[in-house]
């Protein structure tokens, strides 16, 4: 049977080769390449992996963070208010969502009415969840030129790049495939929301190279604050990129400079209290960031619960069928020598 073994080795090696050729490249990140993308740590998520499902209470808290903090600038316009009621999401009571939509400050422009004029009206369940700006120009005019993007798909529209070595890449890819890892977007969002730090300090050595220094200072040398540095080529000194006016340093953001201020912090949002009067989960930056990230993941992928639950049934069906077909095939081939 050596022949068969070798042939199937060929088939599987071929498959692996093709897999390896492509699958690792599913990762790309939108806003950095040569500028040196920062490493994004992986977090635990209730919706991660093959058994993952959303945590309904977390989605509700996440929506609360969106409503009280993010919605001051960002829209969620691919979602309708009715989505907040639907199964597999935060599943708020319909009446509560209706009431919230009706008093949402960003009203719906409707019309023309009988007089031929456009008019504003409160949102219904079937309307989209709008941000405060009517269009991108209005947003930029209000935000010093920056554009607070719509958050409906943000969790899927970001994905950190693999930054490890070439030789570690194939095993890294296979590991991701077998663990069904697809939480790059949420990990990035969490890192971004918790990534507001002091601008890193550097000192310049005699060759012009910049080296990072800790809080203890540069030991008498001039300390430079650089959001990122560009290595000088051919003996030229390194360049220090300083924080531009109106920008904020964020360790997770490619390039380090982001227009969005650190708006989320400890105690930004008052979470529901337990019977003892204490919040059920800590009101910390870490928790707020996790909750709103989970909510945004749901916003981008509202059918995840159903998809993953169905997936197990589909795989089980396919597995049993494959085994039965294999046994049938063995039986058929047992009629002849092979």
């Amino acid at each position: 049977m050596t022949f068969k073994t070798k042939a199937s080795t060929l088939a599987s090696a071929g498959l692996l080769a093709v897999l390896a050729a492509g699958f690792g490249t599913g990762v790309s990140r939108p806003a950095s390449a040569a500028s040196g993308a920062p490493e994004i740590a992986r977090q635990e998520w209730s919706f991660g992996g093959v058994l993952g499902q959303y945590d309904r209470a977390q989605l509700q808290r996440g929506f609360q963070v969106y409503k009280e903090v993010c919605s001051a600038c960002h829209g969620l316009s691919r979602l309708s208010w009715r989505n907040l009621v639907q199964k597999g999401g935060p599943e708020f009571p319909e009446e509560a969502v209706k009431a919230l939509a009706a008093e949402w400050p960003n009203q719906i422009t409707d019309g023309p009415n009988d007089a031929g004029e456009m008019f504003e009206r409160p949102a219904l369940l079937s309307d989209r969840i709008l941000g405060p700006y009517k269009n991108e120009n209005a947003a930029r005019a209000a935000q010093n030129g920056a554009y607070p993007v719509d958050l409906s798909l943000i969790a899927k529209a970001r994905n950190p790049e693999y930054l490890g070595s070439v030789f570690g890449h194939p095993t890294h890819m296979l590991g991701d495939i077998f663990s069904a890892y697809q939480e790059g977007g949420p990990n990035y969002l969490y890192a971004l929301l918790t990534g507001y730090k002091d601008v890193p300090s550097y000192v310049r050595d005699e060759k012009g190279h910049l080296t990072p220094v800790g809080p203890e200072g540069g030991g008498g040398q001039e300390v430079l604050a650089c959001t990122s540095i560009t290595r000088g080529e051919d003996g030229k000194p390194d360049q220090c990129i300083e924080l531009a006016e109106g920008m904020n340093y964020n360790a997770a953001f490619p390039g380090g400079q982001i227009a969005m201020p650190p708006i989320l912090g400890d105690g930004s949002v008052q979470y529901p209290k337990g019977p003892d009067g204490k919040p059920l989960v800590p009101e910390t930056l870490d928790q707020h960031a996790r909750d709103v990230t989970a909510f945004l993941e749901w916003a981008a992928d509202p059918h995840l619960n159903e998809r993953k639950a169905t997936g197990w049934q589909a795989l089980l069906f396919l597995l049993v069928t494959t085994v039965l077909l294999y046994l049938g095939k063995k039986r058929i081939w047992s009629r002849i020598d092979h």
Binding site: A7, L10, V18, P30, A34, V50, A180, D337
Partner: protein, 429 residues
């Protein structure tokens, strides 16, 4: 079709009446039930059936998606988002089609590598092989245009980069490349007009592929299948009827492959795509890192490896078109790599080269990636232009078994009628 007879005998009067007027049942029975398949086919031979399944699946899911999709610059992105959010089972259909395209390519590459390994392109199967290359080309065109349809950032910029390649022809004949590019675009830049025509062609091409596949299967049934020994079917004992033997094996292969397919659809539908494509197309913002889908990466690496634009374009197209000449580039009289020790090494080096080019294609066009892309581009073409012609001349093939039957029964201990010495497996020597 092939010389063998169909054993079809109509059992009813209606069946006999119909058979005398249109013998389609006779044809089907002859070609897909009684058809003699080599008895030694391994699972690498199940990919033809898998590919047929994927072609049909892509057409079916695509037809339903087209009912909800809007091929305009303003609405394309929104309509795909609408399909995933609001259409009944859209969350399943859209990934089935998108992941299905990737799986189609996984299968077609394995199928092609299998053909290269076992010498399935050699006489008398040259036309069969060439038809396969045409199918691959049509698949690439279809997949490229299909990837444009969600009209995200990577869709838009992928179309921009690839259609711009034709402007390289300006260096041959001034204005020619620009004229072709503007003709493709339907304007002076990539726009919704381009998207609409891509949609039209994306709907058309699968049916062209379907026609080519029918010719491919026809050509296969004229020459008969190759097999791991590369030997022809010489006696009745070398083959088994397609049904139930080959069909049973194909079914196992198909369902095992569907397991992989389902894993990606249900658990990681976005893994094979790009995050950038969840941002609507914006002609004013260039993504810092434009890369095609994974199945084009080796060719993308070759494109960027050549310093001149025209040279890169020529090399990229040549990388696919060179497959057309493989039947004549290979000088060996032995088909299967099983009996070709040197070719076997060259083959696996070639597989590694393709993987390496794929990886390099995903990297930015800067050192040291460019150097390695050039190195592996050389290796890629060296396989076709050096290894295939030269190895056939210098290589001493291992002794071939006398027949397919002998290669099978010599190993399993069965077939006592075969003399032991003759049945000794060539690879054991």
């Amino acid at each position: 079709m092939s010389a063998h007879e169909s054993n079809y005998t109509p059992t009813t009067r209606a069946g006999k009446w119909f058979d005398e007027r249109l013998p389609v049942m006779r044809l089907m029975q002859g070609q897909f039930i009684d058809f003699p398949t080599p008895r030694n086919l391994n699972y690498a031979w199940t990919f033809g059936g898998i590919l047929t399944f994927f072609l049909v699946a892509q057409i079916l899911t695509g037809i339903v998606l087209a009912m909800h999709y809007q091929p305009s610059g303003a609405e394309a992105f929104n309509s795909v988002d609408h399909i995933r959010r609001d259409v009944n089972f859209g969350w399943l259909l859209q990934p089935m089609h998108a992941v299905g395209a990737s799986m189609f390519f996984v299968a077609v590459y394995i199928h092609t590598f299998r053909g290269l390994y076992y010498g399935s392109y050699k006489a008398p199967r040259e036309v069969l092989w060439i038809l396969g290359v045409f199918i691959l080309l049509a698949m690439m065109a279809t997949a490229f245009m299909g990837y444009a349809l969600p009209w995200g950032q990577m869709s838009f910029w992928g179309v921009t980069v690839i259609t711009n390649l034709f402007s390289a022809l300006d260096s041959i004949w001034s204005g020619l490349g620009t004229a072709i590019t503007e003709w493709l675009w339907g304007g002076y830049a990539v726009s919704g007009v381009t998207l609409t025509r891509f949609f039209s062609l994306h709907y058309l091409l699968p049916f062209v592929i379907f026609g080519l596949v029918m010719l491919h299967v026809w050509a296969l049934h004229v020459t008969g299948q190759n097999n791991p020994t590369g030997l022809d079917i010489k006696s009745k004992s070398d083959s088994v009827p397609m049904y139930p033997y080959a069909v049973a094996k194909d079914a196992v292969g198909l369902f095992a492959f569907l397991l992989v397919f389902a894993w990606f659809i249900f658990f990681m539908p976005d893994y094979l795509g790009h995050a950038d494509n969840y941002t609507p197309a914006n002609p004013l913002v260039t993504p810092p890192h434009i890369v095609p889908e994974w199945y084009f990466l080796p060719f993308y690496a070759i494109l960027r490896a050549i310093p001149s634009k025209l040279g890169g374009v020529v090399a990229m197209f040549a990388a696919v078109l060179i497959l057309l000449f493989v039947p004549w580039l290979d000088t060996s009289r032995v088909r299967s790599a099983k009996y070709r020790p040197l070719y076997k090494i060259a083959f696996w080096l070639f597989v590694f080269t393709c993987v390496a080019l794929g990886w390099l294609g995903s990297k930015p066009a800067e050192q040291p990636y460019v150097f390695w892309a050039q190195f592996f581009t050389f290796m890629y073409f060296a396989f076709f232009l050096l290894a295939l012609p030269i190895l056939g001349l210098i290589e001493t093939p291992r002794p071939l078994p006398r027949s397919i039957t002998e290669s099978v029964l010599g190993k399993s201990g069965g077939g006592t009628t075969i003399p032991a010495g003759a049945a000794a497996a060539p690879e054991k020597r």
